[in-house]
């Protein structure tokens, strides 16, 4: 199988490698051991600021005011009476129990605990004699009917409905803030431990008539972490699956072991290099090592297959290994370079985590070029093949009937059907493209599935209360030195803004200083609702603002020259956010003036909006530069626009279809899914490069026609390509069962890309070649029939 016409440089490189192969293997082994040790020090670290587009306009607002309006790390434990209202003895006993349990959780800021039973929950009213007020539930509460009735009265008078008591009076919640560090130990709060203990509270309080819903940042993190534990299991399953398939394919324990070993090296090297370079692995990038492993398997299988074919041709193992290296060095390096490009272009997304992912993956593929070239061929050269093994390699002597039938696609007649199908699929892809969304399309925490318990709890809480977990904050800056917020004209304009925001679709409620001041004004006027207005004079506004200071800095900063208007959204779907953000921009364009400046955006939805916009802005650049660079790569390698088109067009179609699949499955384009396209193109091009490298050789050097050249390429590279595509598809497809939605989404899309790219290379590439590529003058004409007579079935499947 040695290609005597290959450039001398390749032979020279292979010669150097093989002259020093033992030393090389020893050096590599030492390096691997060292990097393996270093890999034990790799830290998996999540950083909030790594996940946000810091350069984005919204995030500068967020950073400017992060210390003024810090989003508290709250937990909310809501209890719903499934058989009545909250003003029932048994229900209140459960609420009391939950309040006490939350109060004694480690890391809870005790003074922040808020429920009907805590002393900070009071009501006040104007009575005939002046002001009166008190706790909603008094200290002598014993569950007597008149006490229950009094609690109801006070609750209705208070402003706690919608906040800690649901609008339908069926639920009440315990709210508490978590501290950053445990005051006893001084260590960071163990969020997962908190999440576990909250689950314990749920199990202790829940009964036939009391349903418990728990939400909050720490609970979400805990549930995600629990899901992430499963990632390791999926790795193990995938590796096992690959091992079984490899053995089935190679019929050799030794080859299976060598392939797995070689594919593991770049992963070990990568994980060892990261700590040496002072880098960590982000939980959202935790899938990268596995992807590196999968790509490495793909290239190792090609190498082993080429080696096997040479052995079957009657050469010794050293010759076969060296010939495999010479034949595959260029296509594998070019294919890996395409992988690198695929990873690099996603760095266009201006989010540090994505940049880190790009760098991490690029490093992984970079070291893979070394390990695949320097380790596997020398190892293969030391692999002994006895007669028994040779028989297994030869298989049962079957002919390549499937590849032969498939090669008809490389004729003008056979190409018609695939090309018509491709045109149809292109039309379908373009049609679906309009429904592809940027950002999240589901409710709840996007990392978890919509039917996850946490997301069900989010839905339950947001449907019952006026508060939600999806908050977009607009910071309104007021000009002036001395508490400018108390000016009636400032309040009046803010009041218009609140009214405007309430009208927007997807807005559940709005909370800001104007609404609060109106409530205070009404309370001062014997709760007559006709006084629920912004007072006309500064002193009365100041009175309301003074009350707001008791809530801490949730509504305005200390100087009262910046006010946070919080918009609670019914969900954080991309289209909901888009519509609201665009509407706020419209308001801003009209109402920004010397008095007030409206700045987007803070809150978790502010971060999502910025991220969506960053992804949206980067997406065209990612796609354009990706295809531009892989096209250049193909042109450089094949020096033919026609061949490059044969490789690139199927890739482009598959990319288009991947977008269509995302649209069909309701998967949004976001930080987690954007790399999939890039990665899919980067790895999908492997098949085309490997096949066409062989086709070109057969066309130019052996003078075969297109069909024969394609058939020859299929015989030598097709089986390995098909095997690796199926292996990689199956292993990433298992991610579908992950508890983590982003892993499941990536699994589905990667499986689609891996598999359909293979179809593109096997079905559309030859069809395009039939029309675009012309046969060149033959050097050593041979007939396909002769080759068939010598052919062996190497893959028994």
């Amino acid at each position: 199988m040695t290609n005597s016409q290959q450039p001398t440089k390749l032979q020279a490189i292979a010669g150097v490698i093989f002259r020093h192969r033992l030393a090389l293997l020893i050096v590599m082994a030492i390096l691997t051991l060292g990097l393996g040790y270093s890999a034990t020090k790799l830290k998996i670290e999540a950083g909030f600021f790594k996940m946000i587009p810091l350069e984005h306009e919204y995030m500068s607002t967020f950073l400017d005011y992060q210390n003024e309006f810090v989003g508290a790390n709250q937990i909310m434990v809501s209890l719903r009476n499934t058989d009545g209202t909250v003003f029932e003895k048994d229900y209140l006993a459960a609420l009391k129990k939950a309040t006490d349990k939350v109060f004694y959780l480690d890391g809870i800021e005790r003074s922040s605990v808020t429920s009907l039973f805590t002393p900070n929950v009071r009501y006040s009213e104007v009575v005939e004699e002046g002001f009166v007020g008190g706790n909603l539930i008094e200290s002598d509460y014993a569950g007597r009917p008149e006490q229950l009735e009094a609690i109801r009265e006070r609750t209705l008078k208070s402003n706690w409905i919608g906040r800690i008591v649901s609008n339908n009076l069926q639920s009440a919640m315990v709210v508490a803030t978590l501290q950053e560090t445990d005051p006893d130990t001084g260590e960071k709060i163990d969020l997962q431990g908190i999440a576990d203990r909250l689950e314990t509270i749920r199990s202790e309080v829940e009964s036939e008539t009391v349903e418990v819903n728990i939400i909050g940042f720490s609970k979400a993190i805990g549930d995600i972490a629990n899901g992430a534990r499963g990632v390791l299991m999926f790795f193990a399953v995938a590796v096992l699956l690959i091992a079984v398939l490899l053995f089935w394919y190679t019929k050799s324990k030794r080859l299976t072991g060598l392939t797995l070993l070689t594919a593991s090296l770049p992963v070990v090297w990568l994980m060892g290099l990261l700590p040496l370079l002072g880098l960590t692995l982000d939980p959202m990038s935790i899938l990268v090592p596995f992807l590196i492993f999968a790509i490495a398997i793909s290239h190792a299988v090609q190498m082993c297959n080429a080696w096997k074919l040479d052995i079957v041709d009657g050469h010794d193992t050293v010759h076969a290994a060296r010939a495999s290296l010479e034949n595959l060095l260029i296509p594998s390096v070019v294919a890996l370079a395409a992988n690198v490009l695929g990873f690099l272009v996603i760095a266009f997304v201006e989010i540090e985590m994505v940049f880190e992912l790009a760098i991490t993956a690029t490093m992984g593929v970079g070291v893979m070029i070394l390990t695949n070239s320097l380790v596997l061929p020398p190892l293969l050269s030391y692999t002994k093949v006895d007669e028994h093994a040779l028989d297994r390699f030869r298989g049962k002597g079957q002919h390549y009937w499937f590849w032969e039938k498939l090669s008809v696609l490389a004729t003008p007649r056979g190409a018609v059907v695939p090309i018509i199908c491709a045109v149809g699929l292109t039309a379908f892809g373009i049609y679906r493209l309009d429904t592809l969304h940027v950002g999240d399309l589901g409710d709840g925490v996007p990392e978890l599935r919509s039917d996850a318990r946490y997301n069900q709890d989010v839905a339950a809480v947001t449907s019952q209360y006026s508060v939600g977990v999806d908050v977009l904050q607009v910071i309104v800056e007021a000009e002036g030195d001395n508490m400018p917020c108390v000016k009636p004209e400032v309040m009046a304009q803010l009041s218009e803004f609140e009214l405007y925001l309430r009208q927007l679709p997807g807005v559940a409620s709005v909370s800001g200083l104007p609404g609060f001041v109106k409530g205070v004004t009404q309370a001062y006027a014997e709760t007559n609702p006709k006084w629920r207005v912004i007072p006309g004079n500064q002193a009365q506004v100041a009175q309301g603002v003074a009350f707001a200071t008791r809530n801490g800095s949730t509504l305005m900063n200390t100087e009262c020259d910046a006010m946070a208007i919080s918009v609670f959204l019914s969900d954080h779907k991309a289209e909901t956010i888009d519509v609201i953000v665009e509407a706020i921009k419209r308001f801003k364009s009209v109402y920004d003036n010397k008095l007030l400046t409206y700045r987007l955006a803070s809150g978790n939805v502010g971060v999502m909006a910025a991220t969506n916009e960053a992804v949206s802005a980067a997406n065209p650049w990612v796609n354009t530069s990706l295809f531009f660079s892989v096209t250049l790569l193909c042109l450089a390698m094949f020096r033919s626009l026609r061949i490059s088109l044969c490789i690139i067009l199927p890739l482009a179609l598959v990319t288009l279809l991947c977008n269509a699949v995302m649209s069909l499955l309701g998967i949004g384009l976001k930080v987690n899914t954007l790399p999939v396209i890039a990665l899919g193109v980067g790895s999908g091009i492997d098949y085309g490069i490997y096949l066409f490298e062989r086709m070109k050789y057969e066309l130019e050097e052996n003078g075969r026609d297109i069909r024969d050249a394609f058939y020859e390429a299929l015989k030598q590279r097709g089986t390995a390509s098909a095997f690796t595509a199926l292996t990689m598809t199956l292993s990433v497809a298992t991610w579908y069962f992950s508890e983590l939605k982003f892993q499941a989404d990536m699994g589905i899309l990667l499986a689609f890309m891996f598999l359909v790219n293979l179809f593109g290379a096997l079905l559309l590439l030859p069809a395009l070649a039939a029309f675009l590529v012309r046969k060149k003058k033959a050097h050593q004409p041979q007939k396909r029939q002769q080759e068939e007579e010598q052919g062996y079935e190497l893959a028994s499947g």
Binding site: E153, D434, L436, Q503, V533, D578, R586, V590
Partner: protein, 317 residues
């Protein structure tokens, strides 16, 4: 999402929330359930709800039609509206008075600054012919005899009086002003002369009514309801069992009296206001500000908007 798709989506949503960029302000549709509304009235064809930020919502009496948004030439909150055959008058904060002919959609902001000094007007009623009466904060009471075009300030008492007046109640030929600290003023000559009445209660009344049986009822803060069978000479307190403010009333076709208040509290009496029973709350409107019976249904305004609802007894909590 591709730019074209995004633009298409925005265009679609903007059909739902028409946002028309004007040179100085945005004009946008306001949903009836998302506006703080202070009063509801109806004329022959149209339902009106007046509310915050100078907004009036209208819809025809025919079922199923949508509420239309009207921004009047003021941004003050509008508290009350009265209609006659020839005129419509709306009053509000900042002493805002707006009028229009009944046949016109054009509203005029009346300059009454020298009468109101910018104090809020809380209620306006039509007394008959072209006469309208309005009351407000700090004892403000003004009268118009020309359909709201010009106004005169009324002197209710020889003594200094600065209590807020919240409501105007009709009792036969008499009209009674109701307000803060139990304030009650009565006129039998359509506002020409006024008599201060003895009040049974030191707290504030927010409204009142004459029942079909002829009894007078006053209601207000902390669930207070007082009843008189002798035109205010003596009063007895009706027990309500609630301590929330009562702000609005309605009389059912069978004579039942409905009182509605904060947090959607709903009381009903079937014995001419002697006793009241608590009914299922109507929390969707927030603190209820006004009720009007329309074709057997009830048009309710409140701090969480306006809407038609069924009210009825027999759903006691």
């Amino acid at each position: 999402m591709k730019p074209f798709a995004k633009r298409g989506l925005y265009a679609a949503v903007l059909c739902v929330v028409p946002v028309i960029c004007a040179s100085a302000q945005l004009d946008y549709h306001i949903a009836p359930e998302k506006l703080t509304t202070f009063d509801v009235v109806a004329d022959n064809k149209t339902l009106y709800a007046v509310g915050e930020r100078g907004v009036v919502l209208t819809r025809t009496k025919a079922e199923g039609s949508d509420w239309k948004t009207h921004r009047l030439p003021t941004t003050k909150s509008l508290t009350s509206m009265a209609v006659s055959d020839r005129s419509r008058v709306i009053v509000g904060y900042g002493g805002a008075i707006l009028r229009s002919d009944a046949s016109s959609d054009s509203w005029t902001l009346i300059d009454a600054e020298e009468l109101t000094y910018g104090d809020p007007l809380m209620e306006v009623v039509h007394l008959g012919n072209d006469r309208f009466l309005s009351v407000g904060a700090f004892g403000l009471a003004i009268l118009s005899d020309d359909g709201g075009r010009t106004w005169n300030k009324l002197t209710l008492s020889e003594e200094y009086f600065d209590r807020h007046l919240y409501s105007i109640m009709q009792a036969g030929n008499a009209w009674i002003l109701i307000g803060e600290s139990g304030s009650l003023f009565k006129t039998d000559d359509l506002g020409q002369s006024w008599t201060q009445m003895e009040s049974p209660y030191a707290g504030s009344f927010f409204g009142g009514l004459q029942t079909q049986g002829g009894a007078w009822l006053l209601y207000g803060m902390r669930g207070q309801v007082w009843r008189s069978e002798n035109q205010g000479d003596s009063w007895t307190q009706s027990q309500t069992g609630i301590e929330l403010a009562i702000n609005a009333h309605g009389i059912a076709s069978n004579g039942d009296v409905y009182l509605l208040g904060n947090s959607g509290e709903f009381l009903a009496s079937s014995d001419d206001g002697k006793t009241f029973r608590r009914q299922t709350r109507a929390p969707q409107h927030g603190d209820i500000t006004s009720v009007s019976r329309i074709n057997g249904k009830w048009l309710i305004s409140g701090t969480r908007g306006v809407g038609l609802a069924e009210l009825g007894r027999g759903e006691q909590q």
